[in-house]
Amino acid sequence: MSGKGMNLTLKIWRQKDAQSKGKMETYNVTDISEHMSFLEMMDVLNEQLIASGDEPVAFDHDCREGICGMCSLYINGEAHGPDRGITTCQLHMRMFNDGDTIYIEPWRAAAFPVIKDLVVDRTSFERIQQAGGYISVNTSGNTQDANALPISKHAADEAMDAATCIGCGACVATCKNSSAMLFVGAKVSQYALLPQGQVEAADRVKNMVAQMDLEGFGNCTNTGACEIECPKGISLENIARMNRELMKASIK
């Protein structure tokens, strides 16, 4: 591969810590293989920075196989970069060309403050989940088998589709309003579609929406950008369902 790789110019957001004012910095990487993932390219850059005694670029990552929801990055103006249905760890460098300039920025939202460089604090999502994204089950030792409850194939499929949300935050990062409604819609829907979720359905949607508003996420204007950029293909239908669930819960 040597000598045949891509030479790239990277414009990366650098910010020392949450309090500091950050800015875009320019870096060059050479001989990048088209088979590398985007994060491997970032690793190459960091090795380079460490070797020259500079501070490596901080970015979130964990499983590197597209399921943990840790990796983020706003690449050339799109969440998880230009490809569809993938996270940044699954984005291949073959999506870029030799000589390209690539902008790499952290998720931007008031509810996702930058911790360092490209790492943002997404605990607002966890607080929304804690407000109602669960079912209360007595685990005394004689818990009923979930499979004993008859559930239609259609409902089970839709609930599963909603449950595939990995909470990465691409929907918020992409939204022109920094709205978290695709995430919250998915989390509300996965229970709203199943009998186990019915008991606490009204409180769940009310509390989760209240927490979402409290965290400072914006108001959805139905641009549909979140659905396009979501690595798991979560449908806008989940937002419509959340709207219905909240209306239903509010007129009770």
């Binding site: 939202a109 022109k176 920094s178 709205s179 108001n219 139905n222 419509a240 219905r244 007129i251």
Partner: protein, 224 residues
């Protein structure tokens, strides 16, 4: 229920409800306008009825004014809240990759429509209120005949005014192209995501503003 309309979703629903009302009003307004092309007498009769019927004037008109003001004020409130929710902007953002221009610029198309409404009120609504309720002339007559048609034709003599109306209605079409299906989605309806309603929405969003444009342009070139 009052808590509902204070929530982010409640505000969406309120925007959608006022949008449905305004979209229905546009049909009524256009229907009356179109009669001016086909029958001067019918247009005069309808204008006189709308302008003097107590139910229209004192029940429907205040509701309409409230709907218009509410939709604008709520639109601005939501825009300001959303700007606050964004915080720092991206150095590079490719909005066109995942959404339509119309959906990203509702505030700007809305502002043009607001500017148009100011002009429209100065042109027609304020003079009407002046003649009827300040001067107290409810007859609708001028020099022995109905004044509405002549006033309409007189207004559209000016090419600048016709031009301003045409631009405003193009922006209205762009506003509706996103707003129509968006209102259904906000109401939690799956209909807005169905092909049939999306097609109907596109037809409505183009036909209604086009109708208003045709009326303005027609009277510009056919005054007597």
């Amino acid at each position: 229920m009052s808590g509902f309309f204070k929530s982010s979703i409640g505000r969406k629903v309120a925007m959608a409800l006022s949008a449905f009302f305004l979209m229905f009003f546009l049909i009524i307004h256009l229907a009356v306008n179109l009669t001016s092309i086909f029958s001067e007498d019918l247009f005069n009769e309808l204008s006189h009825f709308m302008g003097t019927n107590p139910a229209v004037q004192f029940a429907m008109q205040p509701v309409l004014l409230f709907g218009v003001v509410f939709h604008f004020v709520m639109g601005f409130v939501l825009e300001l809240r959303n700007r606050k929710a964004i915080g720092v902007s991206y150095a590079k953002n490719n909005g066109a990759a995942n959404s339509t221009w119309m959906s990203r610029n509702m505030i700007y198309s809305g502002l043009v429509i607001l500017a148009f409404l100011v002009l429209h009120f100065i042109d027609f609504w304020i003079p009407e209120i002046n003649v009827k309720y300040i001067q107290g002339d409810m007859s609708g007559m001028h020099d022995g005949e109905f004044r509405y048609f002549h006033e309409l034709q007189h207004k559209f003599l000016s090419p600048a005014r016709v031009g301003a109306y045409v631009i405003a209605f193009i922006l209205l079409a762009l506003h509706l192209l996103h707003g129509f299906t968006s209102a259904f989605q906000s109401m939690g309806s799956t209909a807005g995501r169905k092909k049939a309603l999306q097609t109907f929405g596109k037809v409505y969003s183009i036909i209604i503003p086009l109708g208003f444009i045709i009326v303005a342009v027609y009277h510009h070139f056919n005054h007597h």
